[in-house]
Amino acid sequence: MGVHLKFHSIASRVFKHMAVLLLLVSCVESFEPETEIFESVLIVEATITNENKRQQVLLSRTFRLEEDGPNPESSAQVVVRDDQQNEFVFEEVEAGRYLSVQSFGALPNREYSLSVVTSDGRTYGSDSASLTAESQIVDLYASREENANGQDGIAILLDNQTNDENALFYRFEYEETYKIIAPRWVSVDAVVVRDRPSPPIIVLEPKTEEQRVCYNTELSNDIILGDTENSNQNVLTRFPVRFISSDNFIISHRYSILVKQFVQSREAFAFYETLNEFSSQTESLFSQIQPGFLNGNVFSTQNESEKVLGFFQVSTVTSQRLFFDYEDFFLGEPLPPYATDCSLEFTPDLLPGSPGGASPLVQAINSLGQKYVSSSGDENRPFILVNRPCGDCTALGSNVIPDFWVE
């Protein structure tokens, strides 16, 4: 059992704090880097699993540091082959996202490899990979804990089990879905019937769509790795997949998390680990980990020196879903603060400040999306409004109940 013990990271964490000691004289400041020499590098993210589904390969390119991504690679030909001369052709379903035309699941004891031809005619291949060993999630559960920084919250913990001694390295992804209840919801909306000429006409109408209860789903965006290599048991126990601090509004009502466990090869694990290390340089005034170009197992088949960053792997995957309510852990305790401050109330003037100007109330409703809560009784400022998410949960999520949702 146990997280992979990142001894170096722990040590460098110590050094990071040394920097704090020298704070009086030292400084760490952010700066805007400019990529003088930008290199366009193909990025390949391809994890084929044993689930029978349309498998996915993501292709993109690097983009300039000062720009915002992503930068998808479109119009490529993507094929996965196995050692039985089977070919699985992929098609682009959205920019940079390629799904296999037919559903398939990776089978054990077969060698798979990836081949990509980009629209400019360059060809790429991967080392061959075979399906990793299997491991089952035995239990996925939530527990109220304190994290390393002493922060109170909910830890999502996982126990797994395997009969295969080759299942040593794990990567986890999750999809979390949480229920949102707009705290200042009322059944009616203030609707602008007439903007101009002044005075505007605004009426209260019953809401036409669900705006009180919504659901939002988010995907994990950090690299969560675990291994049993340094452990005396071949299982992970109480492995922390996710920690949600008690003041995070996402656990206010009902929360669900789907955790996917990928069993990885040693090489894939090392790749993700290094990627993680470079991105979270817990640094370190004194010793910076030597960065470098991270070679995966995808390469150009035409030009050896062309840089390609990517990993093709064939993993077994298992998943499990968990639900819990706020009261399960925080019975009687106040809810965490909502996503926005809903104690703020606005009473804009009905009439414009200058003749021919816009009505502040109309602007608040139409441009700012503020929501009606109640009437004030003052005819100059007739309505009390709040920020949109406070009265309309669709600002934060979808009002469609997910298929898997269980109350």
Partner: protein, 923 residues
């Protein structure tokens, strides 16, 4: 500070303008001792007096002078004494006592007999005697000059030269003065005393003026009239008067005359005037102001010598290896500055008696204790305090020196407001003890013990500590005049420990230890005056515990892990001859044969040949028993250098040497970190090898006041280590799968100009150098930058450093330190990408970019306590400002992915001017 700078320039201009006109002075005094009057004159007028206070006596005088000629005043002051004054250039006044002529030395001191029976007589000896004596009164020297006659006139002698030898000791302590230079005025002969204060010099028949030169001791000139070989011992006074003036004084002429290329000596005492961060006196930091020696950045531990990696330096403290000579990640040195006597750095030709590292040797020696009285030295600085105490154990024979050093950073932390810092702990200390005993004329022993420790606990859950431990014993024995021997036994250890005590079940502690024990025998044989033969043998046993990990408590599920101990035996024999082919041509040729064996018990993993080492290519695990030789590496190391004197003060030198290194640091950080570990060569990791060629020109000017040198080198290395990107090095059982071995190439030109004497002294160094590495392989994963040469992390082409000291008055001196270096290469992100729903950066080829250039100016003001004779302690204040310009020198640049976005950060360590004040005293 600005005020002082102004003062400095003001003084300059006064001096310039007053060169042609004699100033008049106005002064009055009532019953004041003469030396006080002199001090007054110095302060009022800018005249500087050179004298020995004892000569002046306690006479008190009264007088009034208004706009008088200085000569009139001086005439009055010394009318009733035996002092003569002499006006020198630049407002210098030399006070000289009437000459004392010594008698001949007693018979018993005479040297070896001259067995020649040749009767052809040369008169040279006799002619030079009496008449020259009479000329002595023509005084133009700042110092007293004795006259001695050596040897008895031997009419049968046909020798044109004879040998003078003897011991030089300090009057205050009775200790021998080593490294004191003796030079003949106007001649080419010179000698340097050895560690026992012994010197030998060949002098021509007749009169010679012998001058002693050493830092901290008076300069004594002696008329030596050589009739024959003989002995002449000297007892020298320490010269406080000149202390701050002589900041830098190499052993005069050795620069030119020595056969060794690329060597420098730094006396600890010299470093006291150089402004350093937080007022810390630091021999090793000063070393980095010399050409060819750099660090990776501000406060970085470790040195890069002539383009070599930080693990390629052999740092010796009294003969024993010091693995990590720094505290607090390199900000402070781990050596007590008062206990250190000097450091000799060999970066070019490494003498054959040293071996085991590719780039350099830092040979640091500690002081011997005072054998005549209890004395001590201490300093109080803003962050640390140092103290050294010396006491005689057996009068004039044995002494003990103990030193300690510590920081009060714990106290500083506790007084901070920030809660997390208040609970932090950061402390370090080091202690040293040295015992020296001169058993008799032919035997002396010394023993040194040293311990240093750093402790940090910054977060509540982790504790980190590292330390050095070292002990050495040395026995010097003189068999006879021609043969000397030395036995050195030493043991050194470096270790670190990390304890992690969080709230989870993952608590652990890990540790690392390296220990080495060495026995060394060195001999010197001097068959005649043309040869000095050094030979010896050494053997060293390494014990490395590469790592243990233990669960910290019962709840912890961390699996205990112990990487098995590594053992190695490194042995060497060497011989070298310093052979004087002619007066002009000197060759120092040596060979060292070193051999290293990795010893069992051990499990060695055998991989398929010519394939990358990995789990997949593992063939077998081979077991080796206790003491079994796993593998043996070795070979000859040539250390050859030659010097040719083009003129008496101009020489050219060339050298070639090659070296082996059997021990490597494992570090995947861009700068040295205390958790870097050392690994011995084994079946999978071959020893590294280095080759260096150098050529240099050396010139001294104005009686060694100026030293100039220009030296170039070309260096190649093989089998230097690097690691696969993102390698995990600590506690890795299959470390060889992460290691790459490649080659290095470095070249450079170093220019150094030193001014050794005068009110303004110091040095200016400029280095142009490059350093490249190359890791090529058939396999993609084993290549760095496509297998091409790339600049190393410490490739800094331009490096300028200036160290200058200007003496304002006898008590005040200003010093400054300026450094400019090309920014070091770094690996920079060249783009971002999305992966796993998050943004990351993709890095360029290794070291494709550079951080901005580094420059820094430091200024220090040194104030000597007054020189009143009966004062208990001699005190010394240093006020300094580090980084006066407040230059924000980036130390590193790094990138974080936070919330899926990339942020670029740069860090710098001393980004603002750091003032400090240090109080030193000595008794």
């Amino acid at each position: 500070m600005r005020k002082y700078i102004l003062y400095f320039f003001l003084l300059f201009s006064v001096m310039l303008s007053s060169q042609t006109t004699e100033e008049t002075i106005s002064i009055s005094f009532r019953e004041q001792p003469i030396f006080e009057i002199i001090e007054n004159i110095e302060q009022e007028t800018g005249y500087t007096f050179f004298y020995v206070k004892d000569w002046i006596g306690e006479n008190r005088l009264s007088g009034d002078f208004v706009e008088s000629d200085i000569r009139e005043v001086l005439g009055f002051l010394f009318a009733k004494s035996d002092i003569q004054y002499h006006m020198g250039p630049e407002k210098k006044v030399y006070l000289i006592r009437n000459q004392v002529i010594y008698n001949e030395l007693p018979q018993g001191f005479f040297g070896r007999e001259i067995d020649s029976s040749d009767t052809s007589l040369e008169n040279a000896g006799q002619t030079g005697v009496n008449p020259i004596f009479l000329n002595l009164e023509k005084v133009n020297s700042p110092v007293e000059r004795r006259t001695v006659r050596i040897g008895k006139v031997n009419p049968n002698s046909r020798n044109r030269t004879s040998r003078l030898y003897g011991y030089i000791t300090a009057s205050s302590t009775g200790e021998p003065i080593p490294d004191l230079a003796l030079v003949v005025k106007g001649g080419t002969e010179g000698a340097v005393t050895n560690s026992r204060g012994y010197y030998e010099i060949e002098l021509p028949y007749g009169q010679n003026v012998l001058v002693t030169k050493s830092l901290g001791f008076e300069e004594v000139e002696t008329n030596v009239i050589m009739y024959n070989s003989g002995r002449y011992d000297l007892v020298l006074d320490e010269s406080f008067e000149q202390l701050e003036e002589v900041v830098v004084e190499g052993s005069a002429r050795t620069n030119v005359e020595d056969a060794t290329t690329g060597s420098n000596q730094i006396l600890s005492e010299e470093t006291k005037n150089i402004p350093l961060v937080l007022g810390e006196r630091d021999v090793l930091k000063v070393a980095t102001t010399l050409p060819g020696i750099t660090t990776a950045g501000e406060g970085a531990a470790g040195f890069n010598v002539r383009g070599g990696n930080t693990d390629q330096n052999l740092i010796l403290l009294d003969g024993a290896v010091l693995y990590n000579p720094s505290h607090f990640f390199g900000i402070f040195q781990a050596l007590n500055p008062f206990a250190v006597k000097d450091a000799t750095i060999y970066k070019g030709n490494i003498p054959a008696r040293f071996g085991g590292r590719l780039s350099s040797v830092f040979d640091i020696t500690t002081k011997a204790g005072n054998t005549s009285k209890f004395s001590g030295e201490a300093s109080l600085g803003p962050v640390t305090s140092n103290v050294v105490l010396e006491t005689p154990i057996v009068k004039d024979k044995a002494s003990l020196l103990v030193g300690g050093r510590g920081t009060y950073s714990d106290w500083i932390l506790r007084s901070l407001d920030d809660e997390s810092l208040r609970n932090s702990e950061a402390s370090f200390y080091d202690v040293i003890a040295k015992y020296t005993h001169k058993l008799n004329e032919n035997n002396s022993i010394s023993a040194t013990a040293y311990y240093s420790k750093d402790n940090f606990s910054i977060t509540s859950d982790s504790l980190f500590g590292f330390g050095n431990r070292m002990a050495s014993f040395q026995w010097d024995h003189k068999f006879n005049e021609k043969n000397k021997g030395q036995l050195i036994l030493s043991n050194s250890q470096y270790d670190f420990e990390i304890e992690f005590d969080g709230n989870s079940n993952q608590d652990f502690d890990i540790g690392y230890t390296i220990n080495e024990t060495e026995a060394k025998l060195n001999f010197v044989h001097i068959p005649n005056d043309r040869h000095t033969i050094d030979y010896g043998i050494s053997s060293k046993l390494y014990l490395v515990d590469p790592g243990v990990r233990n669960p910290l408590n019962d709840e912890s599920v961390v699996q205990p892990l112990e990487i098995p101990r590594e053992k190695g035996l490194e042995s060497a024999v060497y011989i070298s001859d310093n052979f004087k082919l002619s007066d002009k041509f000197l060759v120092d040729a040596g060979v060292r044969f070193s051999i290293f064996s990795a010893l069992g018990p051990s499990t060695q993993r055998i991989y398929e040949e010519n394939l990358p080492r990995s789990e997949a290519t593992l063939i077998e695990e081979r077991e080796f028993d206790q003491g079994e030789f796993i593998t043996t590496y070795g070979g000859p190391e040539f250390r050859i250098s030659a010097r040719y004197l083009l003129q008496p003060d101009l020489s050219v030198k060339a050298s070639f040497n090659n070296t082996f290194q059997y021990i490597h640091t494992l570090s995947n950080t861009t700068t040295v970190s205390p958790i870097d570990t050392w690994k011995l060569s084994d079946l999978n990791i071959e020893p590294a090898q280095g080759f260096q060629y150098s050529l240099g020109f050396y010139k001294n000017l104005q009686e060694d006041m100026y030293e100039l040198s220009l030296e170039g080198y070309y260096k190649t290395t093989e089998n230097v280590l690097d690691f696969k990107v993102g390698a995990e090095l600590l506690l890795n059982e299959e470390i060889e799968t992460e290691i790459l071995q490649g080659e290095g190439r470095a070249y450079g030109v170093e220019f150094l100009a030193r001014k050794n004497r005068g009110r303004l002294n110091g040095w200016l160094g400029y280095t142009f150098s490059r350093s490249f590495l190359k890791f090529d392989s058939e396999f993609r994963e084993e290549r760095i930058n496509d297998g091409d040469f790339f600049p190393s992390n410490f490739d800094r082409p331009h490096d300028v450093s200036l160290v200058a000291n200007y003496k304002l008055t006898r008590r005040f001196s200003l010093s400054t330190n300026f450094v400019y270096q090309t920014g070091r290469p770094i690996t920079f992100p060249v783009g971002s990408f999305t992966f796993n729903n998050s943004e990351f950066v993709v890095f360029s080829d290794r070291n494709e970019f550079r951080i901005p250039d580094y420059y820094r100016l430091d200024i220090g003001l040194n104030i000597e306590g007054n020189h009143k004779k009966k004062k208990f302690a001699h005190s010394f204040w240093t006020i300094s400002i580090y980084n006066v310009l407040g230059r924000n020198n980036p130390y590193s640049v790094f990138f974080l992915t936070e919330d899926g976005e990339v942020r670029a950060l740069q860090s710098s360590i001393f980004a603002i001017p750091i003032p400090s004040i240090t109080y030193n005293f000595k008794f």
